[in-house]
């Protein structure tokens, strides 16, 4: 009996010791680009294309001889959308892999889980989170490329104002993206003279939201409905909306700006209006549009390589990678402080999301002009400006 317990304890010790052994060797003179993305889990439709984009373009750069004379070594971890995993992987990238910079963080929660770490360690961090809190107030080492949810809300409310809509209903998914978008919308809607008269939510993966929409339908004076969610839920909202025969204008967030949404919702997607980055309507941008070439080029590359329709989400990773590599090129160094300074000096970078002009107080550098209102027409996103 005594032996058994002792051995048991020793077995426990052996298990504890396992991860004390391994540790990758440092490579000389390469740019170590770290990334953690939500490749699986509920946000996989963000993380999966982001991963593809990073892998493809890093490979291309390396084939062409690297950046500033250095090859790029890409390390990607999948956080599955879990913030505690994101914290661990950020630590792993910083402490163990000793990366020079991080491009990652598919969602707001996973991004915020790493922010204190990169701030403490002093590692440039270009994140792909939607929410405005990632860069507001500006943090020394943290930058982001996607439009904020607040900008999406402002774009939508400006469009509503133009149409004379003043009383709206909101329906949003009770999860990270939907909740944050909902809250940001409440903050800015008054600036556009818009009043919220019905406010409904649903859980991720709910199979049916007709009950919530019926409540909205029965609310007097609603002039338009605004939905915040991504994944399959917006398609269910769209279908239930048509099923109930609601004819009010339906707005959605930029979370549905991928072809997958139209495929899922089918005819029910027709007439839905949303804010979207230029990449979504790349082929319709006028030839004079500054984004035209970048967007078309990215679209062709992505669709050619992966045989699936491009979304704006992969574009966020593209922009982040380009901004980072350009900064390294300019700094001609992988010194973290110098790279950070150069990222902050990014001016006039034209990417899939728009034109980026960063400053010490603006670590995103996009403005509303880079967002376009688009309508779903005949199974396509159609520019409406």
């Amino acid at each position: 009996m005594r032996g058994k317990t002792l051995l048991t304890a020793l077995a426990a010790g052996a298990a504890l010791g396992v991860f004390g052994l391994a540790g990758p060797a440092p490579a000389a003179e390469t740019i170590k680009l770290g990334s953690y993305l939500s490749v699986t889990g509920p946000a996989s439709f963000l993380g999966a294309p982001e991963k593809k984009v990073l892998e493809h373009y890093v490979e291309q750069f390396n084939k062409a001889g690297g950046v500033a004379g250095r090859k790029i070594e890409l390390i990607i971890y999948d956080d599955g959308g879990a913030p505690d995993k994101a914290t661990s992987f950020a630590k792993r990238l910083i402490e163990n892999d000793k990366v020079d910079l991080i491009v990652g963080g598919s969602t707001t929660a996973t991004t915020m889980a790493a922010v204190p770490l990169v701030e403490a360690a002093g590692v440039p961090f270009l994140n792909l989170a939607g929410a405005v809190i990632a860069v507001e107030p500006a943090k020394k080492w943290v930058f982001k490329t996607p439009h904020t949810d607040r900008m999406a809300a402002e774009k939508v409310f400006a469009d509503m104002k133009k149409r004379g809509i003043t009383r709206i209903a909101m329906i949003s998914e009770n999860a990270g993206f939907g909740k944050s978008g909902h809250d940001q919308s409440l903050l800015v809607m008054a600036n556009y003279g818009i009043q919220l008269v019905a406010d409904e939510t649903y859980a991720p993966r709910d199979p049916d939201v007709t009950a919530q929409l019926t409540k909205i339908k029965n609310t007097a004076g609603v002039q338009a409905v605004f939905n915040w969610s991504f994944g399959q839920s917006p398609a269910i909202v769209a279908k239930n909306y048509r099923q109930l025969g609601i004819t009010l204008p339906l707005y959605m967030s930029h979370g549905v700006s991928s072809k997958e949404f139209i495929t899922l919702a089918g005819a029910a997607a027709e007439g839905i209006r949303l804010p979207a980055a230029g990449i979504v309507v790349a082929d319709q941008l006028p030839a004079t549009d500054i984004q035209k070439n970048v967007a078309m080029d990215f679209k062709k590359t992505y669709e050619g390589k992966y045989k699936e329709e491009v979304s704006s989400f992969g574009g966020h990773a593209y922009d982040a990678l380009m901004i980072a590599l350009a900064a390294i090129q300019r700094a001609n160094s992988i010194d973290k402080g110098k790279v950070r300074d150069e990222i902050e000096k990014t001016k006039g970078y034209v990417g899939t999301g728009g034109t980026v002009n960063m400053s010490p107080t603006d670590h995103m550098g996009l403005d509303l002009t880079s967002f376009h209102m688009v309508d779903v027409k005949n199974g396509n996103f159609v520019l409406n400006n």
Binding site: M1, R2, G3, K4, T5, L6, L7, T8, A9, L10, A11, A12, G13, A15, L16, G17, V18, F19, G20, L21, A22, G23, T40, I76, Y77, D78, A82, P83, D84, K85, T87, S88, K91, R92, I94, E95, N96, T108, A109, M112, A113, A114, V115, P116, L117, A131, I133, N174, A175, G176, K179, S180, D183
Partner: protein, 312 residues
């Protein structure tokens, strides 16, 4: 007789915890060890319930999450000292578990699993929805843990705190197992009706263990909240509950060291499996299935008896 061996095991573990940092090259390895330690504290408590009292709980992440949020909310919104917030959280969870225990523990097997699962889910829905207080899906920060003017800042310090807490947790669990209550508990697991016939108030003991295991989870949750930059309702959800149960069964039910090994193994495994990239989930699932098929009593009891047999 049991008592001495458990104490020796505890001493060996203390030595391992003391030596381990020699093999941790950087903060990332510390982080894995710390997270494994937090999981182990919860599992040692949960094992009392599953392994000794024979009652399953699919809701312990709810208690873990309540502890974490009690600390985060009381510290950041009301400026409480972290240790008081931790104790308050443990008290609230203890009382809640006590109130719930009687009606819940009347249920058997899968009905008990369902009830605990429901309670866990309700807790995570509340944490997710009451955003003004809890921060909603994006979570909330609890800030650093400080006591008497001293603040825990580094992973190294956290390692000692978690290691120490784990030792205390195991010591408490061992004492409970060896007490008259513990013997009654093992009777409960053997046969409830039988235990009642010989005059054991099984209901009272089950309630006690339910409360103790919930408080273990709450304390671990409180410390965890201070350790992480941000906690989210995901820490309280159904998947986390399943994870805890899996760790306990994987390591070996009714074995405190089994729970410890299960927690450490399954905390570290995903970090090792990252080399398989897209095949991570497939391999994790296969390892779980394979281990349970070939070692149905769990890692530690199976390996333990194997070693003893070989020596004998």
């Amino acid at each position: 007789m049991f008592r001495n061996e458990r104490m020796i095991g505890l001493a060996v573990l203390a030595v391992i915890i003391a030596i381990l940092p020699q093999f941790l090259p950087n903060n990332y390895y510390y982080d894995v060890a710390i997270q494994a330690g937090f999981n182990a504290i919860v599992c040692v408590g949960l094992n009392l319930l599953i392994g000794y009292a024979g009652q399953i709980s699919l809701g312990h992440a709810g208690f873990f999450g309540l502890g974490a949020y009690a600390s985060a909310i009381l510290c950041t919104r009301y400026g409480w000292p972290p240790i008081l917030a931790l104790l308050a959280g443990a008290l609230v969870v203890g009382v809640l578990a006590f109130v719930l225990a009687r009606p819940i523990l009347k249920l058997k097997g899968h009905y008990l699993a369902m009830a605990t699962l429901g309670i866990g889910i309700i807790i995570s829905i509340v944490l997710n929805t009451e955003a003004q207080i809890t921060g909603g899906p994006d979570g909330i920060s609890a800030g650093p843990f400080s006591i008497g003017g001293y603040t825990i800042k580094t992973e190294q310090t956290w390692y000692w705190v978690v290691g120490g807490t784990l030792l205390v947790a195991i010591w408490l669990a061992n004492n409970l197992v060896d007490s008259p209550v513990g013997r009654a508990l093992r009777a409960v697991n053997g046969s409830e009706v039988g235990a009642e016939v010989v005059g054991v108030d099984t209901a009272r003991y089950k309630v006690l263990v339910f409360v103790v295991s919930a408080v273990f989870a709450s304390v671990a949750g409180s410390l965890f909240a201070h350790y992480l930059p941000q906690i989210t309702p995901a820490k309280a959800d159904f998947f986390k509950s399943i994870e805890f149960v899996t760790m306990v069964v994987f390591g070996g039910m009714a074995s405190t060291f089994g729970s410890l090994v299960g927690a450490v193994f399954l905390s570290a495994l995903p970090q090792v499996l990252t080399v398989f990239e897209d095949y991570e989930a497939m391999i994790l699932g296969a390892i779980m299935m394979g281990t349970m098929i070939f070692m149905p009593r769990g890692l530690v009891p199976t390996l333990g008896s194997l070693l003893v047999r070989r020596r004998g």
